[in-house]
Subunit: 278 residues, 2 copies
Amino acid sequence: MKKLKRSARLVDMTQYLLARPHTLISLTAFADRYQSAKSSISEDLAIIKEVFEEQGIGELNTLAGAAGGVRFAPKTRKDVALERLLSICRQLEQPDRLLPGGYLYMTDLLGQPAMMQELGRMFASAFADRDIDVIMTVETKGIPLALAASFFLNLPVVIVRRDHKVTEGSAVSINYVSGSAKRIQTMSLGRRALKEESRVLIIDDFMKAGGTIQGMVDLLHEFRAVVAGVGVFVESGEVAQDERLLHDYVSLARLTEVDLKTRQIKVQPGNYFNSDSK
Amino acid sequence: MKKLKRSARLVDMTQYLLARPHTLISLTAFADRYQSAKSSISEDLAIIKEVFEEQGIGELNTLAGAAGGVRFAPKTRKDVALERLLSICRQLEQPDRLLPGGYLYMTDLLGQPAMMQELGRMFASAFADRDIDVIMTVETKGIPLALAASFFLNLPVVIVRRDHKVTEGSAVSINYVSGSAKRIQTMSLGRRALKEESRVLIIDDFMKAGGTIQGMVDLLHEFRAVVAGVGVFVESGEVAQDERLLHDYVSLARLTEVDLKTRQIKVQPGNYFNSDSK
């Protein structure tokens, strides 16, 4: 790379860091890339850090020492996230989303790239400090959320299938009971998709009693893997506490009321917004 | 936003543009955001444009006039793309990817966020100048690619399902013949997922004879929608020309040889790299 002026260097460092979340970049790598002194690089990083934090798009963490460097952790400030989430709640409350059986149509939202980025960034903020090797979801509607989170956390995704496909190679299948419908269903994961003892973050779009997620937890046991966290976009608040199969999870939104007669839907912020932490 | 120094403004403009691909941003919006003169904003944009183009991450196009502004089009330069694609081909050629029936295991690659971003950016480069309203794919393995492309093109995604789910509302289903296996299968899309006369870019992970993609084309007709383009990650070169159902498509890679006995796999760049254009 040819030697850049300071202004051009700032632009390039910004795009370079944004494209490599949760990746440690040594000051030496930057100094080489720009043929600049480490002291200049450090000054530039201080400017970038301030802007990223003021704009609420993430943290720039500096690790000192020989093995040190800088790492960008994409995050959304809680107050910014809450504002965005409330606007998403209003969209989820549109009466024409109501489907037979009290289901909520949200496929359109899961196909909006900007909204997926926002939700993925919220999951990335919620789980930034956990020790995670891989993100898991089950087809189909959880996939956009899992992929968005995977980018901001720089983690691979594995997708559990509803049936066993030839393109997955040999697979482990389990049966599980979908908590709300009490139906027995199957899910399956290719043997080579997950290393033993992986630490897994489970992401899904919707949780009622939690049967599907409990199925994924059971599947993880077959791989001797462990649950490092569970994140859902919308949880149903219409489940009695003792019917819930799962208690330790992060929800971004909570469906608190569905009235089929008046077609009234109420969606509120999920438990992620309960605590007062930043 | 408080008034920023030039250096901080460059950092913020860079992150702001990168987060909003294919979105027209007026100079006035930037001038207001930074409480700066349009002439200073124009100078900053010129610096950003030069870095983006030199680094091969995209174009910054300026539209003059009252309704004018600036638009970031993420692109990968062909030479950079080819280099990355060749390294992906080498990964696809690993002998242990070979599955019974001559299928290729590539689920792990489709779960790598950095690789999905690279492939998504290649699709975004290939289709940047077409008039497209929405991206369509069929579950499950095409989804990561479609979502990655959707972000860089700033377009919504619709996902065709293999069966009709209650959470999609009323749906249109069609039968299609998978070209290679000659099996009759079903695919389905929710009525409200696609507006009539939409211009649709179809993205999928693998194409042999093209039966699945032809199925999506047939489904589009049911919605009076039109095909604006077809992009596949890997096409199989083991199909005779007269067996191919589809001729107008962009492929990033081409599987040219699968020898089950010697376990030899050969993958080469796809037709996207045929032309000499940038």
